[in-house]
Each structure stands twice: as structure tokens, then as C-alpha cells.
């Protein structure tokens, strides 16, 4: 579904991605972990064409994403939920929800989204900026889902969200994946990433330094400790 081969990206003179290789297969949920500043967000931005890669290839469903205009990528079925949610604060919730659609959605499509995210129906007329963090996260996911994507890129969806909402979000993301949509999840919340994604990549200094299954990571706490600096609770 999505394949990154030797991806390099520069921000000015700093060489952020130094040859990232990564693959997400059809229907799979994959987590991309790593400490702050190792290039996880840049990886997602490079996939979406928001930061132009300086080398390597990004292929999604048979199309080279690094060779097309960035605004065409969403239409190929790749949804992006950016870090910090990035809801348009002065657009209404409904306008935010339908931003990626060229035509107003049919009633069925809208009802379908509202049944998954009832809060958005209640708040449809409100400005996006007035929603709580958790509600904005729901909206950020919903505005991708309404475009019927094949795959979602999620950048730290639980960051700055209250614990009760984190559980709800986890269930939503799992439901999305169970509906057949592939997921690439960037997370600081290690436990959540392991719970959602059977396969894990770990990044360090702009390259993938480890790949394995969630089970392996679970069974070898020293790996997580070495690359992420976290202790895995093995109860």
C-alpha cells in the first residue's frame, strides 16, 4: 500500500531524514516510534509532499507521491491527521469536515460520519477553534474519513488529550483499521501504539533503527529502553 525507499529530506541545511525505508501493507496498522526530533513528523510530512523529499521514493497504491503535486495526494486515498490536529479555527465544524470534498456531501455520507462521531453533529455550526482537544481530534479524523481513504497517517493523535478521551480515540482508531483502512501511527504513547499496531518501526537520527512486531518489543524490554528510553511494564 505505502512504501518508502531510501527517503531523504532536508530542512535548509539540516539533513533530517537520511534514508528511511518503511512499508505498510494493505489493511495493516503500523506504528512509527522514536524519541522527539528523530524525524517522525518529517517522515509523514514528506509522504504528504508538504516537505519535499530530496531523494528516495514514496509509493502509494502504485503512484509515486514524490512526483505529483501535493494537493492531489489526498484524492488518491491517503488521509493525513497532522500533529496538533490543525483544525481550521475560523471555519465551522461542518466546513472543516467537508473541506476535502469538491461537492457538498450527500445526506447518507454525512449521517454515516455523524453516527461514528455524534459530537460533530451537535457542534456542526460552531467554529472549529471552539472545540476541545479531543473533539478537534475526532474532527481531524472524521474530515479524512469522509473522503473514503484507503489509509490514514496519524501524527500523535493522543498528544495533549485528556485520559478519558484517549481511550475513546483508541477505540475509534481501532474501528477505522478494522474497517479495512491501513494505518501509519506516529506516537509518543508507547502503550497505545503497541495496543493498536502489530508491527513497529523505531526511528533514530533520521533512519529506521529497528523493526519488529509488537510482541517482540513487548518481550524484549531492553529494546524499548535502548531506543526510546522508556520502561515497558511487563505485567
Amino acid at each position: 500500500m505505502l512504501k518508502l525507499e531510501g527517503l531523504h529530506t532536508h530542512y535548509g541545511k539540516s539533513h533530517v531524514l537520511q534514508g528511511v525505508d518503511l512499508e505498510v501493507r494493505d489493511g495493516e496498522a503500523v506504528a512509527l516510534l522514536g524519541r522527539n526530533g528523530v524525524g517522525k513528523t518529517t517522515t509523514l510530512r514528506s509522504i504528504m509532499g508538504l516537505t519535499k523529499p530530496s531523494g528516495g521514493a514514496v509509493t502509494f497504491a502504485g503512484t509515486r507521491l514524490d512526483r505529483i503535486q501535493p494537493h492531489l495526494i489526498a484524492g488518491l486515498g491517503l488521509g493525513y491527521v497532522p500533529q496538533g490536529r490543525r483544525i481550521f479555527p475560523n471555519l465551522s465544524v461542518l466546513e472543516n469536515l467537508c473541506i476535502g470534498l469538491a461537492r457538498p456531501p450527500g445526506k447518507a455520507a454525512l449521517d454515516d460520519i455523524y453516527s461514528q462521531f455524534p459530537i460533530l453533529k451537535e457542534r456542526a455550526g460552531q467554529a472549529g477553534g471552539t472545540l476541545s482537544g479531543g473533539e478537534q481530534q475526532m474532527l481531524a479524523i472524521a474530515r479524512c474519513l469522509i473522503m473514503k481513504p484507503k489509509m490514514l497517517l496519524l501524527d500523535e493523535p493522543t498528544e495533549g488529550i485528556m485520559p478519558k478521551m484517549v481511550t475513546t480515540l483508541k477505540h475509534k482508531i481501532r474501528a477505522v483499521n478494522e474497517a479495512g483502512i491501513s494505518i501509519l501511527l506516529v506516537e509518543q504513547n508507547f502503550v497505545m501504539a503497541l495496543a493498536l499496531c502489530p508491527r513497529i518501526y523505531i526511528m533514530e537520527k533520521g533512519v529506521i533503527c529497528y523493526q519488529g512486531t509488537a510482541q517482540e518489543l513487548h518481550d524484549n524490554p531492553d529494546i524499548a529502553h535502548r531506543f526510546l528510553g522508556v520502561a515497558v511494564d511487563n505485567r
Partner: protein
């Protein structure tokens, strides 16, 4: 004396609505593309010249309301591609580039249209008594056209998909692109629309001002003051500030020199910059 105050206040109001129209163009271009368009006043000037040309060719002034904004849309789109796109993302370079454009527009008009100021006759040529004074009907018509265009512009911005995309792109360009908003097309159309607004302002203003190549230099400062006082990127604020500025300048002109009126406006703007740099109409939360 009081008659003069009323006339000049009304003239100020009409002029303010025209300035509002032009300043809206300046504001959307700045808000969306981060371009400080120093040539914006010259597009207004080109609008008045085209209005003159339309009369010259067809003998019908009213056609200019249709033709000139379309030319503006086209010219603006062309300029975006040729002049603006290469200096994208650099506000400083955009000033240099549009200053060059400003010179080109002025000299092109001087070379073709000539340097002598010309006047367009009042196309309606009727007056109505207002508060015991005869007032040009065309000025009222000009105000009505300006208001209609401003309302239409806001409806476009808030009621159409393209308008929503423009607002989204202004708020967060990257996310808009990631959601599939065709940002390049948005930029072209925005610059075209901004230019069309300035040139429509030119047509509306043509019969109540002189037509000459330096006209833009007069209008540009007022537009920038409206944008600054109204708050950068705050469109309703900009429109309100434009009307207010021109109205007050009109009243002051009735008992003092126009230069004094402009000094007053500049002092007022300096006060706004010192006390409320976000603009007097900006919401306190942003």
C-alpha cells in the same frame, strides 16, 4: 459652511466605500499569499484608464463595469504566475517585485494613454436634492455599486466551496494542501480577484476623479492604512476602517487642507500601531 461639511462628508463616505473595495483586494492578497502588493494602487489606476478606453471604443461607460473586472481577473492571474510565484514565501522580495510592477504599470500607461490628466463626464448627469443640496446621483450609484460588490465578495467567501478553500488556505496552508485543496489555483484566483476588485474600484471612481498614470500613488497609502487600522487579514475590519478614514478625512477637508486631513489619518494610524498593533477591530483572543 455647514453645506460644505455635509457635501464633503458624503463625498468622503462614497470615496471610503470605493477605498474599502480596493483595500479588500489588498487585504486578501496579503492574508493569503503573504504578498505586500505595492502595485495594488496602480491596478486601481489601470482600472480608471480602462474605463476611459471602454468609453473611447464603445461610447458606453456602463460596459466598463462588466469588461474591466474581467480584464482585472485575467491580468491578476497572469501577474501571479509571472511576478508573484517566483518570490513566493518572501514578503521582502514581494515588495521589490511589486514595486517594479508598479513602475511598469505607470510607465506603460504614460507611454500609451499619455501624461495629461483626463476627466470622464458624469455618466448620469443628474442631481438630487439631499438636505437642501444638489447631489450627484452618480456618486450615490457609485456607493451602491461598491456596497453591492463588497457584499457579493463576502457571500463568495462564505457561501461557496472556493471561498471556504480560500479561508482555509489563509488559516493553514499546509493542512489545506494535505486535505486536497488546490492551493496553486487558489493563489491565482485570489490574486486575480484582488486585482479585479482594485480595477472595479477604478471604474466606479473614474467619473469622480481624474484619470492619470499617478492616480495609484494617491490611493495606495489610504488602502494600507485601512488594512493596518482594520487589522491585517481582518476583512470586515479593513472595510470599516476604509469607510471611517475617508469619511473623517472628508469632514476635515471641509475646514482644513487635504494634507492636514492626511496628517490626521497618519497620526491616528500611528496611535493604532502603538496601542493596538493587531488592529482596532481584531478580536482580543487571537
Amino acid at each position: 459652511m455647514s453645506d460644505l461639511v455635509i457635501i464633503l462628508a458624503m463625498n468622503g463616505l462614497v470615496w471610503g466605500l470605493i477605498i474599502a473595495l480596493i483595500a479588500l483586494g489588498l487585504s486578501i492578497i496579503f492574508g493569503l499569499l503573504d504578498i505586500i502588493n505595492v502595485a495594488h494602487g496602480d491596478f486601481f489606476m489601470v482600472g480608471t484608464v480602462f474605463a476611459w478606453t471602454v468609453i473611447l471604443i464603445t461610447g458606453n461607460f456602463w460596459l466598463a463595469f462588466l469588461i474591466v473586472p474581467l480584464i482585472g481577473m485575467l491580468l491578476g492571474s497572469l501577474v501571479e504566475r509571472a511576478v508573484i510565484r517566483p518570490v513566493e514565501n518572501s514578503a521582502a522580495l514581494s515588495i521589490v517585485a511589486t514595486f517594479g510592477l508598479s513602475l511598469i504599470l505607470q510607465e506603460a500607461v504614460r507611454a500609451t494613454f499619455g501624461a495629461t490628466p483626463k476627466r470622464i463626464l458624469d455618466p448620469i448627469g443628474v442631481t438630487v436634492p439631499i438636505l437642501g443640496l444638489d447631489y450627484q446621483v452618480y456618486r450615490l450609484f457609485a456607493a451602491a455599486i461598491a456596497i453591492a460588490a463588497i457584499v457579493a465578495f463576502f457571500l463568495f467567501l462564505h457561501r461557496t466551496k472556493f471561498g471556504t478553500w480560500m479561508r482555509a488556505t489563509r488559516q493553514d496552508r499546509d493542512t489545506a494542501i494535505a486535505m486536497g485543496v488546490p492551493s496553486n489555483r487558489i493563489f491565482v484566483v485570489t490574486f486575480g480577484l484582488g486585482t479585479a476588485l482594485a480595477m472595479l474600484g477604478g471604474v466606479v471612481a473614474a467619473p469622480i476623479t481624474t484619470v492619470e498614470f499617478r492616480l495609484g500613488l494617491d490611493v495606495l497609502p489610504l488602502c494600507f492604512m485601512a488594512v493596518i487600522i482594520g487589522g491585517l487579514g481582518n476583512l470586515p475590519g479593513t472595510a470599516t476602517a476604509a469607510v471611517l478614514l475617508a469619511f473623517v478625512e472628508g469632514i476635515i477637508t471641509s475646514f482644513a487642507e487635504p494634507t492636514t486631513a492626511r496628517i490626521f489619518s497618519l497620526i491616528f494610524m500611528s496611535g493604532v500601531l502603538l496601542l493596538r498593533p493587531q488592529g482596532i477591530f481584531a478580536r482580543s483572543t487571537r
